[in-house]
């Protein structure tokens, strides 16, 4: 199912959430972890949630412009994964610009990262959401296939 772009290997249909149910920050993290956990890349979801909450205490991963990228490494993660989720109405995530967040990318990785893929992936996602065109297109996504197509397009021929 995955597309050709190397970044898409960390996405999958079961890591896609077209509409977040949660309305509060803590609940969103819990919901995103539940998606990752159900997809099978995680053991000890509570331990993973705790790590993500600690990361938020360092400073919100809501990087502004309606986007949040909660992330971190944990022994609770078996394989690097990206959960993509949309909060259609937007929600308060203590974002740096104070604006509600609609687009979420949860990026989780195991402690060992032999090929050193985690930080470059985090950087690439953080970079691509800076483009208004990319954000607007991602907000319109309703299916995993659409996400895949948009990501292929905005990531370009890297």
């Amino acid at each position: 199912m995955n597309g050709n772009h190397p970044v898409l290997q960390y996405f999958s249909p079961d890591l896609f959430c077209a509409s977040i149910q949660a309305t509060a920050k803590r609940d969103v993290l819990r919901e995103l972890v539940a998606v990752a956990s159900a997809a099978g890349g995680v053991r000890g979801p509570e331990l993973l949630l705790e790590m993500l909450e600690r990361r938020e205490s360092l400073g919100s991963t809501g990087i502004g412009k309606g986007v949040a990228i909660p992330h971190g490494r944990s022994l609770a993660v078996i394989r690097m994964r990206v959960v993509f989720a949309i909060a259609r109405k937007g929600l308060d995530f203590d974002a740096v610009d104070g604006k509600p967040v609609k687009l979420f990318f949860l990026i989780v990785a195991p402690p060992q990262d032999k090929k050193n893929e985690y930080l470059p992936l985090l950087g690439r996602i953080a970079e691509l959401v800076q483009e208004k065109k990319a954000r607007d297109r991602l907000l319109k996504v309703e299916t995993y296939e659409q996400l895949q197509a948009v990501m292929e397009d905005v990531l370009g021929g890297e």
């Binding site: 331990l47 790590m51 205490s57 360092l58 022994l75």
Partner: protein, 122 residues
């Protein structure tokens, strides 16, 4: 019940290592400043340090010493085991070690590399 106690013990060390990894990546070159450059807020490192101190205080001294000692030799003191393979050194674990994992209250170490083993099926 004794296995629950071991799980609690390992989970506490697990949390400590997750926190140590986060703090290390924020402080150590070559990753220092990386998240900030990406646009993430890392304003409250002191909160992580405080959480680390509090968590360490709750871990029995012997376990903490073991973790700290192994951490001096390896980037990750705790590693998971998958299909009887230690994911620290990638050596297969003997069947005896696998069956010993249920020994009450004992934190198991990899016989090959000496790292603390975290079993998937606890």
């Amino acid at each position: 019940m004794e296995n629950d106690a071991l799980k609690d013990k390992l989970d506490a060390l697990f949390r400590l290592q997750d926190l140590d990894i986060m703090i290390r990546e924020l402080k150590d070159p070559p990753t220092k400043g990386t998240e900030e450059k990406m646009g993430f807020s890392v304003a409250h490192l002191e909160k992580l340090q405080l959480a680390r101190t509090r968590l360490a205080e709750r871990i029995p001294a012997l376990d903490l010493r073991l973790y700290e000692r192994i951490s001096r030799h390896f980037t990750h003191a705790i590693v998971s085991v998958e299909n009887r393979i230690c994911l620290g050194c990638f050596m297969g674990l003997p069947t005896s070690a696998v069956s010993l994992r249920t020994e009450p209250g004992m934190v198991r170490l990899c016989e090959n590399c000496g790292r603390i083993l975290y079993w998937l099926d606890y």
